[in-house]
Symmetry: C2
Subunit: 399 residues, 2 copies
Amino acid sequence: MEYKFSDRCKNLEGNAIREIFKLISRPDIISFAGGMPASLALPKDDVLKIIDDLLTSDRAIALLQYGATEGYAPYLEAGREYVKRVGINTSDSSEILAISGGQQGIDLTFKAFINKGDVVLVEAPTYVAVPHIAKTYEAKLVGVASYEDGINLRDLENKIITENPKLLYLVPTFSNPTGKTLPVEKRKEIARITAKHNVILLEDNPYGELRYDGQTIPAIKSYDEAGNVVYLTSFSKTISPGMRVGLAVASAPVIRKLTIGKQATDVHTVTLSQAVATEFLKRGILDESLKRNIPVYKEKRDAMLKAMDKYFPKSAKWTHPSGGLFIWVTFPSNVDVSTDIFREAIARKVAYVSGDSSFVDGSGKNCLRLNFSNATVDDINKGIKILGELLKERVEGKC
Amino acid sequence: MEYKFSDRCKNLEGNAIREIFKLISRPDIISFAGGMPASLALPKDDVLKIIDDLLTSDRAIALLQYGATEGYAPYLEAGREYVKRVGINTSDSSEILAISGGQQGIDLTFKAFINKGDVVLVEAPTYVAVPHIAKTYEAKLVGVASYEDGINLRDLENKIITENPKLLYLVPTFSNPTGKTLPVEKRKEIARITAKHNVILLEDNPYGELRYDGQTIPAIKSYDEAGNVVYLTSFSKTISPGMRVGLAVASAPVIRKLTIGKQATDVHTVTLSQAVATEFLKRGILDESLKRNIPVYKEKRDAMLKAMDKYFPKSAKWTHPSGGLFIWVTFPSNVDVSTDIFREAIARKVAYVSGDSSFVDGSGKNCLRLNFSNATVDDINKGIKILGELLKERVEGKC
């Protein structure tokens, strides 16, 4: 039959990175394309031990039965304690919601606020899933310029005035895709500017715990006096992505709308995932696990940066992230790494994500995102050498 | 701040039953209100044994890492085998999708097909979550009359012609809320009528395995020659609702749209939930568990029907379901069980769901839904006696 798909879905293709995943799952490819935690970092023994404790306790039945859309009460309590690490104080559990991974929080926030045609501002470049989600709500995405230290505040305020956006989406700490972190002063300014103009700030913080240098910076949400910030975090990068469990923090009226929106889709987040995350927090296993894994990630980041210094063409510039999973590389504007070079890299068995998928206006073909968390140090050295040589062959002549 | 919520969410309240859940979670209340499997039926030892096997196997890391939106490959294979039980043959895994509970399948189907203002037909009464989901897509719901043996075909075809719907939603087997089952001949007719008029049929089958009398009936999807049927099933009622795992089966182009829609919300279904369901299927544990639980549910249904015969007013009529979780009670049209009587029942510590939440036009105040799966036989007898006496006091004078 001739399917009459909805307007939002008619021309919707899969998000670039999820689609690349399928191409690059071949084991012979060195992948810098994903955003996956290191497989060896996944704490399978801790997860099993906890599930064993939980399913032999008197809570077992409650964990397998239907749960509240709002979340499993001990998880919400542990979550309220957890977000204090970034300076967020909630008055009670009406300001927090269990979500099925951080990305569901983006989807639910769009559902709660966005009508067809509404403007959403994003840093350019932005997290690749956001343009995809925006299409499912028929939102208009507008990019805001990004500087060395993150989003440009003058351009932000200009765009707020000219575009009248409902929402601003940001990853202020170890951004995806750039790895940049917004300094404290800019965080305060963003809280002030968005509140002043009645714009919802969607602050996404999936990577904040993966810090390799320096000290924790407070979330923008911690400066939120107006109640206009929706804060998202997730345990995908610190416990397990496959368990799909995160948290949204916002004012009670906003959490209520997110909850009603969630009720209509997956009813509630998997209770066992929530209970496992609770125990990771309460028993201090999350911190032990971070203590074990951060040196590993730091070593990988350093190895990648060092190999890039050695093998990448001199015309390329890249970020030096103090945490997270990604390095962002920019070539001169006449270079295109999105088509021929990308295909040749795959042919030479190295994968990356080309930058255009992170822009909303088709730009970014001269940029690429490298993930350093999931390959071994040996593969990082090998892969960056292959990639560097390819880039030198193809790019150097042009610069 | 003054929140500018989206049109779809502005006036959206929580779905009636999820909200009642919160009221009735007090342990002193005998609840016939939910749709929960019996807590004692939840196979916690099997789940733990399987998770133990999985997380000590060489698949452990794959289960905790990011997975494909389409689903965990062994789950999709086991799922293709599983749906053969209701006569559904898939040509390959492009026709099946792992979903985070059956309800997500409803949401994703609406996302794929429904524009604002599009008409969706539902049996009147229908599953209470559907009006809620429909509001989040700003769909127009139109009820189709229901007879003894389910949806009325003449009214269905009339409404298709006059309303030009995109979608028809049905629970053909042990319907929620009525417990009715559509006979085979009507199934074939519905497949024919919807295909002829280019209407997507969303066939929801969460209860089909819970059959207490008679033989399995093929799904409407098994008669789908045009590719217009989306079939949903779930392991919430047979393994664990808290694990949020189900299946959607449809033609490859439709599954592709559902997948892209899912990618934008929860990325993928919890892999451990999919893997546990896979083992329940492959090791025959699901069938063992059903063999254990069906006599228990049957006993509860019989106890409730017997107690209703004894205690309910003679003017009430009710369904005699051969499976599932619900009995549907209809009083004369001048009776209202949705307000005073409901409140008094709660005061006497018995809960039910009043029928109006299952209708889209405010009717159904003279109906109520009783769940028999979650209370003990003793509580069923006690609760039905209390409810019957209350109803006799309030209703009998009116008839």
